[in-house]
Symmetry: C2
Subunit: 308 residues, 2 copies
């Protein structure tokens, strides 16, 4: 997976991943009305509206970004129909050549971890038949339970050419409450970073990075810099750009000297661009996906400037 | 939620929660064959078989246990149809008066945490309509991201009379890798235990326990004992009994002097009882749910013995 991701980043000349985290207040009225007319104001209507919204944006951006990151919670909250929209979004994005990072942040052990691994990045078996269910290329995970909660996924990285991004240092205001605790002479997130780096050693790709990556927030540049040093072979998924306050300059420390080693997420700033002051004057609601495309191009330029 | 759970534990005189974690190799052949005949060897057939299996067990045990804990991964891996079976299992168990602990171990921040909270223990809004989607009474969560990843759920505990069980010390072999790290003069799990206890102070029930509980594994009795002292107002959900090696004597330390304060999970040992040496001679495959009932009664006796 990681080699495919790096190739895509080089081809598109853009280390941006678009977070497909739709919310009802972000969906243009004409899409919502059409869905409500068919299904009433129901979870099914929301699921259909989300899928339409996502597909329209994907059509405009797939030439300019390497990957998308759907946030499963936004779909899961609407039940089975929401989950179907999550899966259909992923399948559509894959048809367009995009790499999928499923933002699921699962954490469990033993046969439960195996079940998540099989469903999301492996295959589930029904007697002599097997099925790919969620179709992600990689997913995010939470490390709190230790190596045996990660192991089944690592095996699938090998067997199915998949990837992982494990939470190390998150971008939220209270992330330090546990992650910044002092463990001996280092912070907990540094210790977790080393563990994640070790776990990834057995599944190295061909471009110097492991299939096991890390989530490192853009809102803590000094900490990200330290983690880049500690984890030279770990690719970073960087949330927190834009809406959460992280700037391109802040997150430049996440990249290596070749301008690789990280992919930066933006969600609302891209999929909700048509609602932002910056784009409102140039794009109508009907042109929401064109606004997203412009936001992608602006973000690419912003990142390239900071990495130059 | 926590008061309802305590009342149920007292009424049934049993601090056992049955883990509804079905796996295909646990489902009796006649249930599987019936489902395959209708739907082929597909995720839909598995979902139907899981639901039938769960309902039959629930029918036999609901008089003797206070709660069930479906593990969402077992259903989620089979996609939307699996999720539907998860929801239908929950609705059926609630009709029988059982308290539901949804074992989802989610971890995320901001609007994403809000989405999980709304879907699982709140209501999702579609304009002026709102829907209860997953119907759990309580869910499990992972604390690694800090308080702002928990806050939206705590608000729902107040607004919808719901509960939480937050991972503190898990039962798996590698749980110590991160959870047992030394933080100053204490272990990380002790620090996390104190945090969880503090987070729970604002949502106290009427029986001395908070709606915010903790997951504390039965496989580490000394650590559980220490946590019981540190968290006197926190109810424990205790995994690891039976299949994972924890004994009733080990986990007695999780209870308070009144024999309350904890609920002990068993999954395979109950729902897969008919496959165990101990029950195989007395129950046929067709009588799998009667074997589950017997296993519940045996576990109740075992726990009562250790608590006496």
């Amino acid at each position: 997976m990681i080699d495919r991701l790096i190739n895509q980043i080089e081809t598109k000349e853009n280390p941006t991943v678009v977070g497909l985290d739709p919310r009802l207040d972000m969906i243009p009225t004409f899409i919502k009305e059409e869905a409500y007319e068919k299904w009433g104001k129901t979870p099914k209507a929301v699921a259909e509206a989300f899928l339409k919204f996502n597909k329209t944006i994907i059509d405009e951006i797939y030439d300019f970004v390497p990957a998308v990151k759907p946030q499963v919670a936004m779909y899961e909250q609407f039940g089975p129909e929401g989950i179907q929209a999550y899966i259909d979004t992923i399948k559509y994005a894959k048809e367009k050549g995009l790499i999928i990072i499923g933002d699921v942040k699962r954490s469990d052990i033993a046969s439960t971890a195996q079940a998540y691994a099989d469903g999301h990045i492996g295959r589930v078996k029904v007697e002599d038949e097997s099925f790919e269910v969620y179709h992600e290329d990689s997913i995010t995970l939470n490390p709190y339970l230790g190596y045996d909660s990660i192991e089944p996924y690592i095996k699938h990285c090998k067997d199915y050419d998949k990837g992982l991004f494990i939470l190390v240092k998150t971008s939220n205001p209270n992330s330090g409450e546990i992650q910044d605790l002092e463990v001996g002479k280092e912070k907990l997130y540094e210790r977790v970073g080393k563990l994640v780096s070790n776990w990834g050693e057995e599944v190295m790709g061909k471009r110097g990075y492991s299939h096991v990556g890390a989530v490192v927030g853009a809102t803590h540049p000094e900490q990200a810099k330290r983690l880049r040093e500690l984890m030279p072979h770990t690719f970073f998924l960087v949330p927190g750009y834009g809406a959460q306050g992280g700037t391109a300059k802040d997150l430049a420390v996440c990249f290596d000297k070749n301008g690789l080693g990280a992919i930066v997420n933006s969600s609302r700033g891209i999929i909700g661009a048509y609602k932002l002051e910056k784009y409102k004057k140039d794009f109508t609601e009907k042109e929401f996906a064109l606004a997203s495309k412009q936001a992608v191009l602006d973000m690419k330029k912003d990142l390239q400037g900071a990495l130059a």
